[in-house]
């Protein structure tokens, strides 16, 4: 395998990681909590995409937005059940982390009950999978599609957060909830919107991931969950642009450690990196040195 091939692999994988981690980072930046059920929403997104294609006979193109909407709604339900009651009580952030774990267990087990534990696949031909011809490297259409969808969604998110009133409200709440409420911003609505967006991104990432690896199981979120943590820590917890950068860095690290013959250690590399970043640069790779070490 040549180096260009590795770079290509790292880029499309990075797109999926970034997309997934964006939701993580979004919730952390606005609410200051780590939502460990995010990976369960990701998994649900994949299943919904699958069901849409196999049961409803829609195309993958329609399945992605459908999965995004449903995942967004699941994510809002998550907020209502697991986060909102604790927020109202002013419970410590750690309690919210634990309740998100409870929610994750619940979501994974419900999926297990409905879909079983056997890996499931998108039907053959739901997306062209033959490598493009006439190129010196191996690229499948699905990889290009994944990257395009991921970049489009990231751009849309960036636009939403920076350019729209809703995005302004989100940033205001993220900066200081008390001040935001003085400005007449309904923080409850902002939280729900944040969870919807995060869920939708996770859902899209889930479908894309399911298409790329073509094995969908209730446990597919597990590996991504911890990797996603590394991604957002790399980017600086709650830093949205940082999450994108982090996604590509982690993907590159994985791809190149496999290429270097260390496929068994690729996760060790990732988690060692996580560990070191937290110790030496808790503000993340791109962040400013600040009092991040809360």
């Amino acid at each position: 395998m040549n180096i260009t091939q590795q770079i290509v692999n790292a880029i499309w994988l990075g797109g999926v990681y970034s997309l997934f981690a964006l939701g993580y980072a979004l919730v952390f930046s606005v609410l200051g909590v780590l939502n460990l059920a995010h990976s369960a929403v990701f998994m649900w997104g994949a299943f919904i995409g699958l069901v849409a294609v196999t049961q409803l006979n829609v195309s993958v193109w329609a399945a992605i937005p459908l999965a995004m909407v449903v995942s967004g709604v699941i994510s809002i339900v998550l907020d209502v059940l697991a986060f909102a009651p604790l927020r109202r009580r002013n419970a410590p952030r750690i309690s919210q982390l634990i309740s998100s774990i409870g929610a994750a267990i619940l979501l994974v087990n419900i999926a297990q009950l409905i879909f079983g534990t056997q890996p499931q696949r998108f039907p053959l031909g739901s997306i062209p999978s033959d490598p493009l011809e006439g190129l010196p490297i191996r690229i499948t259409p699905i990889q290009i599609i994944i990257l395009l969808v991921a970049i489009t969604l990231m751009a849309v998110l960036q636009y939403l957060v920076v350019r729209t009133r809703a995005g302004q409200a989100m940033r205001a709440v993220a900066f200081n909830q008390r001040v935001a409420s003085l400005l007449g911003i309904n923080s409850g609505n902002v939280f729900r919107m944040t969870f919807f967006l995060a869920g939708a991104l996770a859902g899209a990432a889930g479908v894309l991931f399911g298409l790329a690896y073509n094995t969908i199981t209730p446990f597919m979120g597990d590996s991504v969950a911890l990797k996603g943590l590394t991604v957002i820590v790399l980017g600086g917890l709650g830093n949205i642009q940082g999450a994108v950068v982090g996604g590509f860095v982690v993907a590159a690290l994985e791809v190149f450690s496999i290429a270097a013959g260390g496929s068994n250690y690729r996760e060790a590399f990732v988690f060692t990196l996580l560990f070191l970043i937290l110790l030496f640069r808790p503000q993340g790779l791109v962040g400013q040195a600040a009092e991040t070490r809360a």
């Binding site: 750690i94 994974v108 419900i110 911890l226 060692t272 070490r293």
Partner: protein
């Protein structure tokens, strides 16, 4: 005993209840000191593997393996704790999750790694398949004794200068420091004790379940251990024990509903953290819940409502 057995609590279930109580206590120590560390599964893995290698490859008795596993975890805890415990809440949680994963992956690849370094074929941890055929030599009385001794130490710990300092650090680390408490020392010592306790549970459990593999000590295991402490509550040592017992016994009692086991676990964790934040062993929490059910706000809630509307 027959009654217990009829509802599904066989001897092995009872033994696992005891082991899980010990695991619950190991995370209780750090939580009680205000540290949200999730390294326990990693230390449990270190204990289990060192212990099993000692009994299987060196024919040592269980007590020697227990001590060996505990020492190994204690030694690893020192260089981990010193840098990591400077981090707080979510940052500490993530860093210790990272540590646990690194331990798991290192054990997974230990044989290939050791083989390539030493140049000869090493077969110790046996990769993803793990070690099988471990003799079941942990006995109920040993577990009971171990748990009783641990609880005695905890009770005396809480009554000591050291134990008071632990509680002070949880409530206000800075204030504790200006009261003359060496926060770094106390935190690291507690972290090491917690690691040792997790390792002991790892050794004892490995010689009950008879097989160990790296997959047993992943993030799921951390979540289980955390659930023991959260369900029972961490205001007293009794909480994690009750939590460990309930979460181990409940699935067996409800085994007709086996497919819903995971759902029940998730719901329990959610309901407890949302409606009974002090856990099962917490009288004030039950009182508060009772008032809520009957629709009477507590004094504190009434004050909060007044200040919010005012």
């Amino acid at each position: 005993m027959d009654l217990l057995r009829s509802i599904g609590i066989t001897e092995i279930v009872f033994q696992l209840m005891l082991v899980n109580a010990i695991l619950g206590l190991s995370i209780y120590l750090t939580l009680y000191t205000g540290m949200f560390s999730l390294a326990n599964a990693g230390f449990m893995a270190i204990g289990a593997y060192v212990g099993v290698v000692l009994t299987q490859n060196y024919d040592l008795p269980l007590w020697a393996a227990l001590i060996g596993g505990m020492i190994a975890a204690g030694i690893v805890a020192v260089p981990i704790g010193l840098p990591v415990l400077r981090l707080r809440d979510i940052y500490l949680a993530i860093a210790t999750i990272g540590f646990g994963e690194v331990v798991r992956i290192l054990i997974l690849n230990f044989d290939t790694l050791a083989s390539s370094i030493s140049g000869e074929s090493v077969q110790l941890t046996r990769g993803a398949l793990g070690i099988t055929g471990i003799p079941k030599i942990t006995e109920t009385w040993q577990l009971l004794l171990f748990l009783v001794v641990t609880v005695y130490i905890l009770v005396r710990l809480h009554r000591s200068r050291f134990g008071r300092a632990m509680a002070a650090i949880r409530q206000d680390e800075q204030a504790a420091a200006t009261m003359g408490i060496n926060v770094v020392y106390i935190k690291n010592t507690v972290f090491i004790f917690s690691a040792i306790l997790a390792a002991s549970a790892g050794v004892l459990k490995a010689h009950l379940t008879r097989t160990i593999s790296p997959g047993d000590y992943g993030f799921d295991q951390v979540v289980n251990i955390l659930a023991f402490a959260v369900l029972g509550g961490t205001s007293t040592w009794l909480g994690p024990i009750v939590g460990g017992f309930v979460l181990t016994a409940l699935p067996e009692i409800l085994r007709e509903f086996k497919q819903y086991r995971g759902i029940v676990n998730g719901v329990i964790l959610l309901v407890v953290i949302v409606y009974l934040p002090g856990g099962l062993v917490n009288i004030n929490g039950w009182k508060r819940l009772w008032r809520r059910i009957r629709g009477q706000p507590s004094v504190i809630e009434r004050i909060q409502q007044n200040t919010r509307s005012g």
